[in-house]
Subunit: 368 residues, 2 copies
């Protein structure tokens, strides 16, 4: 929105890191194809910059959630293969065809509608067939898979692209549901038309080659989230959020800080007020829990996160580092998205998709 | 973004309710002026529509957080009085003057910079003087107030608009900090130049006439949040969020739902998948906690909130009400923002400011 001088925070998005992450996953996948999930505005990082950078790195297949997102992405990448995970809404088939978007068929209703569209002469692109193996969210449930098996003519004449399913617990390698889902997928594969199969999300790629199949579709790992929780993060960080110090305050008598008076400064101390709040996606659950870093020194969030402001205890940090106008890392080398998420009681995905619109956004790198 | 047919959710914003809320507060305030806080894109509801509607209802004084927001609002309301709460950033004085924005002076540094700007011939508008009486966030701390008292020449020649302070616990009428903050403000008032005083936020208006002073600046109450928690809400709801059913799923064997398999359907049941997730601001903390309503029937959120989807248990709801394409109230008459907030473990403010950009937004009412 404004220039750097007057914005309350700077969000730096490293397109080169995102490209490097995609290539790293592609290399790990070997013969398996590597798509990219860019739904939700590329996990909050800006699809208009992220998608072309990924295409430039070699990515040809993209996944979004909504039809709208597919239409937007089609304008950015005229030649890409674009899949829409949320699938058909009643009456939307012609929109998919007009923009050459691949709908994910999630139900018998979807299948029937898509087939009917093709029959009536609609120039239908290929579609994905999504069977549910354990999410109970989207995809054909076992009962509908059974019906489909008994009436294969429902698929007659349809051009299909991928058979797909989605992992529920891929970030827990020892969870018994992983193998069960893989078994379910293979059982369906056995009787369905010979289709390539897409299964693994970011964490699924790290469950081993059994889970790779024909096409993986990573999302969070591209953007620096750790696909192997509890182990070192194999991905590069792609995001840095620096909040600006608005005011530095010496406290010399005991007093409370912020709404609800939830934090008490008992003795002498120093509080820095930063121009970032929950309206910027700095989640309110980081109240009395989050961390800022000035260089390598941690300054804890004290008091509640306000709509437009947070307060940090900078008592232990030299005064000159805390001058108004200076920047504090709210997401950075020492507090990457997964750490911030842990402090907020959520996951890195939500930290990313919550990133606000009032930041000054700076992109690094991109095309070669 | 798209038309209603293909969007995953509809967000309806009732401008008439917002106008009615403002007038209700104005009437309650009597001789005290009633401003409107429209920071953070009017609490997520769209400042481009909300601010003109409030101006049309009679509001003349507006508060934003950031300089950028002030510049944007000035374009919308050329004649309004616009205050910027986060105050001066170093070097920004001329920007304030250029757009006739009233900076809130939060520190001696701010005061000195503003005075210097005026001295050098800058055509400075009036400024507010903000003293901190118990937030420890923005505003002059007691030590700086003392310095100012001993060197009143620092204010010499400055045109000031309001003396202001901000309540920390106004939503808890019995909190002892309220009276203490009022006392602190009055003590400052006694020796400062004869300035009108602005103190009360939404809840502050309901602490009684002592807290009204010259100008109140409500925010959340305008948008339907309850300024009197624990008591009936005196304000009208202004927001309705309706998510679209993508898929209806019969579960006839025991199985788990969603990421991490956190919810188990033990017997027969029915799950509806809705095209709204945490990337739309439906907070992930609503996992296994939130509520949808189909008419007057509650359908609990089961499983984790996904990025683009939630799943509701609709077993108790007639099947025909749950057809794909039907709408479910995620914020509505039976689950207003404060109820959703309670389920999410946060406050209504964060529910509003998190409202996402993928909704189809529909505005009702507006100018007379």
């Amino acid at each position: 929105m404004s220039d750097l001088q007057f914005s309350g925070a700077v969000l730096t998005i490293d397109l080169d890191a995102i490209r490097a992450n995609w290539r790293r996953l592609r290399d790990r996948l070997g013969a398996t194809g590597c798509a990219a999930v860019v739904k939700a505005d590329a996990y909050g990082l800006g699809v208009e910059r992220v998608a072309p950078a990924l295409a430039d790195a070699g990515c040809r297949v993209f996944f979004v959630a909504h039809l709208d997102e597919g239409v937007q992405l089609r304008k950015l990448l005229p030649g890409a293969e674009i899949h829409v995970l949320n699938g058909l809404l009643p009456g939307s088939a012609s929109e998919f065809a007009a923009h050459k978007l691949v709908p994910v068929l999630n139900s018998l209703g979807n299948i029937d509608e898509w087939r009917e569209f093709g029959r009536k002469g609609g120039d239908a692109p290929r579609a994905d067939l999504h069977i549910d193996t354990g999410m109970a969210r989207l995809g054909l449930p076992p009962s509908e898979v059974q019906i489909l098996r008994e009436s294969p003519d429902r698929l007659e004449g349809m051009k299909l692209r991928y058979l797909m399913s989605h992992l529920a617990c891929a970030d827990e390698p020892d969870h018994e549901l992983n193998q069960r889902q893989l078994n379910g997928l293979r059982a369906a594969q056995a009787w369905l038309p010979a289709l390539p199969v897409s299964f693994a999300n970011s964490s699924g790629i790290f469950l081993g080659p059994d889970y790779h199949l024909d096409l993986a579709r990573p999302g969070i790992a591209l953007y620096g989230g750790n696909p192997t929780p509890g182990q070192p993060n194999p991905m590069e960080q792609a995001v840095r959020l620096q909040g600006k110090i608005l005011q530095l305050r010496d406290v010399d008598t005991p007093q409370t800080v912020g709404y609800g008076a939830t934090h008490r400064v008992a003795g002498r101390g120093r509080i820095a007020t930063i121009a970032v709040g929950y309206a910027d996606g700095y989640l309110r659950s980081l109240s009395n829990a989050g961390s800022g870093y000035l260089g390598d020194k941690r300054a804890p969030v004290v008091g509640r996160v306000s709509m437009d402001l947070i307060t940090l205890d900078v008592t232990a940090i030299p005064r000159k580092q805390c001058a108004p106008g200076n920047l504090v890392d709210l997401i950075g080398p020492l507090n990457p998205i997964d750490s911030v998420a842990a402090e907020a009681g959520t996951i890195g995905y939500e930290i990313l998709t919550s990133l606000g619109s009032r930041y000054r956004r700076v992109y690094r790198g991109g095309a070669d």
